[in-house]
Symmetry: C2
Subunit: 339 residues, 2 copies
């Protein structure tokens, strides 16, 4: 059977079906942003692994290696934040193709170290191996969370508010911009590459930031989300994950989704709908979470957070509400890539 | 600069140079079999990551996928044992090339689960991604160790005994046997493949076991090694790691190295020195450790352990002592592969 016919989530369901954790100290295995392991009387340890392969997760034609190293750390650590935790250590493993020189490896590790330094994460290990093919990277992030503040995907309750940090879709538009540039470089299209004015889109694609500022701000405001997930595969997919794990439905208001003006501007230019970029684009590394409706004003007071919808009873399903009041059922993307 | 000119250990030295851990709970970062993180008042958490790429770590022509899954878990968990710890959880990440069918993935995960079940390890997470090229696997093993029983690479003292578990070199001979079989299949050599009688060599290459039995037996005997490392890259390389980290020398007696009779038999057939297979072959996943000389009889009483030499002052360097009393300076292998 062809795995791509199952899709990413079908594949994950199949390989994790029947897996049961038997150790008493394994609090939560597969199925959330990070695994949860008992640590001490007050806190849990959190573990999450990500794999990044050349030609799939990144294209070395237009990805500066320093940015790549930084981004891999952010992507892995973001899963720890999505449990309402703090990222503390990483292991960074690398498969080196022959075309990677020592100078290139230095640049990559410079990005890894920069991210570790910025977010107070220790690089504590990893593996190195030659690669017969492309550059391969695997990062495991380790962290911890206070036991009564841990946030799973499965705690969303009917009427909770759906909240997101930052803005969405810009990373996807940045990717489109880089791909256009690559076609220009390859001589496949004639127009000169135009980056001017779109630096924000490039920044979001190449240099995403870790939203520990939001986790800290929520903590200071005494807000523990009822459920949370990081937005790595696009908003639609993440909303569906929360709904599925929590056994709820959701209504997402199209005109409430935070999208930067640059996304609209570039979307117009290349004829890509910025809302679709936000829903299905991925690589945002923002956080999607739910809070009880009574915390509406508290959440807005935190800053940098938008309330984009609410949780419903499960039978209502998950849908996007358009400005005219119409409803579009949400569908998930995943690999194989959407185009 | 070409990375292969630095070699594996030169590359690791370069990328880890200047890395410092700043978190108070990071007890030990890079430089040992596993990273050590403070857990609770009695124990440390241990973390180690390994990457396995098609064409480098395994050849799908002759590696049954179930065995591959099992072996990847053993290889990663073995690093936890080498700290005198217990492997408790793993994350298993996979990059799937298009030629991997669902049935193949099922077989691979069957091996992962079999290893987890056999060694009471929980599979708690991982990542899945398509791969443009070969099959890519990354495993992170998590475990713990009682604080006063942790064993680093750096604790070997002058006059300590050098001990190894099991026998060495058979996994390398098993690889040679499989490679010969592959050449037969490809029609490159004429002789019919001959596996009969060499099942042990194949077993050692394709289905290595985790030596938790030894860690448990040492614990029961009240023996805490002064230093330890797992034998994944060949005995010579591991002895040199212990010497370097402990700031000592070593004498290794050639005729004390445990090598199975099948290794000699097949070595004769293909003209490969079994001692070289033990020193430089790799993939044994046995343990090399040191104990104070006063524990000589205690160690032998544990069973399945050979004393193969002793630790010396650093100025004596690390050498292999031949039966005629000659000394051969030990040199390390690593990637690029030795042939």
């Amino acid at each position: 059977m062809d795995i791509s016919s199952l899709g990413e989530f079908g594949f994950i369901d199949r390989i994790t079906d029947g897996i049961s954790c038997t150790r008493g100290d394994t609090i939560k295995g597969v199925g959330d942003d990070a695994a949860v392991i008992d640590k001490d009387s007050d806190s849990y340890a959190l573990i999450s692994s990500d794999m990044f392969l050349e030609g799939i997760a990144f294209d070395l034609t237009y990805t500066p290696l320093k940015h790549l190293g930084f981004k891999c750390v952010v992507a892995a650590a973001s899963d720890i934040l999505a449990m309402n935790g703090t990222a503390e250590q990483i292991t960074f493993s690398i498969g080196l193709s022959q075309k990677v020189t020592m100078e290139m490896a230095d640049e990559l590790y410079e990005g890894v170290r920069a991210a570790c330094e910025k977010y107070s994460i220790d690089l504590v290990g990893g593996d190195t191996t030659p690669s017969m093919t492309g550059l391969a990277i695997s990062v495991t992030a380790i962290g911890s969370v206070v036991k009564d503040q841990i946030t799973y995907r499965n705690g969303a309750k009917n009427a909770d508010l759906l909240c997101v940090t930052g803005d969405l879709g810009a990373a996807f538009m940045g990717l489109k911009l880089l791909e256009r540039e690559k076609r220009v470089l390859n001589g496949n299209i004639e127009a000169a590459p135009k980056f001017d004015g779109y630096e924000y889109l490039l920044e979001r694609q190449l240099h995403p930031l870790l939203r520990c500022d939001v986790i800290e701000a929520l903590d200071k405001s005494g807000i523990v989300p009822t459920s949370m997930i990081d937005i790595s595969d696009g908003l639609a997919s993440e909303v569906l994950h929360l709904c599925r794990r929590s056994g709820v439905g959701a209504r997402l208001y199209l005109n409430k989704i935070p999208i930067s003006s640059k996304c609209f501007e570039f979307g117009d230019e290349i004829n890509v709908d910025p809302v679709m970029a936000a829903l299905n684009g991925g690589d945002d590394y923002e956080l999607l979470f739910t809070v009880p409706v009574g915390r509406y004003e508290d959440v807005l007071r935190v800053g940098g957070i938008d309330v984009i919808g609410h949780v419903t009873a499960p039978e209502k399903g998950a849908a996007l509400v358009t400005p005219d009041g119409g409803e579009i059922t949400l569908t998930a993307q995943g690999w194989p890539a959407q185009e």
